[in-house]
């Protein structure tokens, strides 16, 4: 799980721990790339705007690796351009932070099964 905002990170970890084993949390995109290589998680939950390497850049890099990761973006950007960019970067899920309680577990399940999920309240898709 990659998120640079400490309060959000704690909140997401609290939510996810109810359903999953959270194997690692990182604050920036560079750390995300390193942790993905060592921890080999089933699903990555990634914020769009991370320091050093942004979430979207990190996703594009991971897409080109031998074992592409299953990525769910968790973001406040309610914007179809961001959703398209996320899909182009190989992400399966796109969840708005405001709806994470209901949407994030669904998105993770779908991503784990190789399916797409986008928060229904994303406008203009």
């Amino acid at each position: 799980m990659a998120e640079d905002h400490a309060v959000v990170r704690a909140s997401v970890v609290r939510l996810l721990s109810q359903y999953y084993d959270v194997v690692g949390t990182v604050n920036d995109g560079q750390a995300l790339l390193e942790a993905t290589e060592t921890l080999e998680p089933d699903v990555l939950v990634v914020d769009f705007s991370l320091p050093i390497v942004s979430g979207i850049e990190a996703a594009s890099i991971l897409k080109r690796t031998a074992r592409p990761s299953k990525i769910v973006f968790l973001t406040v950007h309610n914007d179809p351009d961001f959703v398209r960019a996320a899909h182009d970067a190989g992400a399966l899920g796109y969840v708005l932070k405001q709806q994470m309680n209901t949407d994030l577990p669904q998105a993770i399940e779908k991503a784990n099964a190789g399916e797409y999920f986008t928060s229904p309240s994303v406008r203009g898709l």
Binding site: D4, H5, V7, V8, V76, N78, F82, K97, Q99, N101
Partner: protein, 381 residues
């Protein structure tokens, strides 16, 4: 002055028509000096000429045309360049290394051969202490005892150039500081405030879900919707200050948003067209992308405020070595010179931003003929 009649005549010619601009003064001085030198009444004229020559605040020199050997220089010339008379007279300007760019002397001599005189010729000179001086010179071919010579009268604009440079540095710093500040506030709004609002929303929804009382639950849901609305406002404000798309998705999606947003808010149809080669917009430098974005923003804001046009077009083309931008409308247009003189901030800020990116701005507009704002920015690699 041995002859009062001659003196009177010269005084009348000299000062009644004294031009105001410094370069014009240099021009006039060169002409009058030549006139004096060529006067048949050599003795009186020579005295007067020497008086002008020695007392002038403008640096003056007489050199041979062929080699640039100094025959005579005035005290202002010596003090500005930091040489003594003995170090200069009889030696050549190239030998002393006074021309920073030797080709400039060749160019001056060529033009003198062609036209007999040179006006407003800007040169970079090297002083005795290796300092750089910028002079704007007028040069005339004169004949001294059968030898073709050059009389050069200059204005020292070194200090003016330095002041201009300082001013440009200040405006560059101002633009940078403004962008940094906008970016900081945008991030603060987006990354901190908006995240907190999002979390509030999440907690409120959770509370509403677990609450048994239907009325309270509905009330909580309504509160959550209002919170989301506030969150959208914060997002919008942050976006206006510094568009996140520019950083994460690149120039074209950010411009697309800008055009869409302005089209929706105003009665203006904006058509965005972009063209790119295989290098793409993706790898465009972020500062450069921001520069183009701000220029488009400023240009479109002018279209909305002043043109009265119903449609505008934004065209961006990226080639390997050049980024080309054109914002055009078919509106009222304006007089470019008047707008420039009025120091309309939009134009200045666009020009400054482009100058920082080594680009240039061309504004084409005429009353009732629409406006075209064109920018060209060179790209490395």
């Amino acid at each position: 002055m041995s002859s009062p009649r001659t003196t009177n005549t010269l005084v009348k010619v000299d000062f009644s028509t004294m031009p105001k601009r410094a370069s014009a003064r240099a021009r006039w001085s060169a002409q009058s000096a030549r006139a004096i030198v060529q006067k048949p009444d050599w003795h009186d004229s020579e005295k007067l000429f020497l008086q002008v020559f020695n007392n002038s605040h403008q640096p003056m020199s007489i050199t041979t045309l062929a080699e640039g050997r100094y025959l005579e220089v005035n005290p202002t010339f010596l003090s500005l360049l930091g040489y003594t008379r003995e170090q200069i007279i009889g030696r050549t300007s190239l030998g002393l290394g006074i021309w920073k760019n030797r080709a400039q002397r060749t160019e001056m001599v060529t033009r003198l051969h062609g036209e007999g005189r040179v006006r407003d010729f800007e040169t970079a000179l090297r002083g005795a202490n290796n300092e750089t001086l910028i002079w704007v010179s007028s040069a005339d071919l004169i004949d001294i005892e059968g030898e073709p010579c050059i009389l050069i009268i200059s204005d020292d604009i070194t200090e003016q150039r330095r002041a201009e440079q300082r001013l440009q540095n200040v405006s560059a710093r101002l633009i940078r500081a403004q962008e940094e500040e906008r970016n900081r506030i945008a991030r603060e709004l987006h990354d901190s405030l908006n995240q907190k609002l999002a979390l509030l929303c999440v907690d409120l929804e959770e509370f509403s879900r677990t609450h048994q009382d239907l009325d309270v639950s509905q009330e909580l849901h309504a509160l959550c919707l209002r919170l989301q609305d506030a969150s959208d406002d914060v997002h919008g404000m942050s976006q206006q200050l510094h568009p996140p798309k520019l950083d994460y998705l690149g120039l074209i999606p950010a411009l697309g948003d800008l055009c869409r947003e302005l089209s929706n808010r105003r009665s203006l149809r904006i058509n965005l067209v972009s063209e790119q080669d295989e290098s793409g917009f993706d790898r465009l430098d972020k500062e450069l992308a921001l520069c183009v974005y701000r220029v488009v923003q400023e240009a479109l804001s002018n279209v909305i405020k002043h043109s009265g046009a119903l449609a505008a077009r934004v065209y961006v083309r990226k080639r390997k070595d050049m980024l080309y931008l054109l914002v055009s409308d078919g509106g009222k247009g304006f007089n470019v010179e008047v707008a420039r003189l009025k120091g309309r901030l939009g134009l200045i800020s666009m020009e400054e931003r482009l100058r920082l990116a080594n680009g240039r701005l061309i504004i084409r507009s005429r009353p009732h003929r629409g406006t075209q704002i064109e920018a060209r920015i060179p790209l490395q690699g």
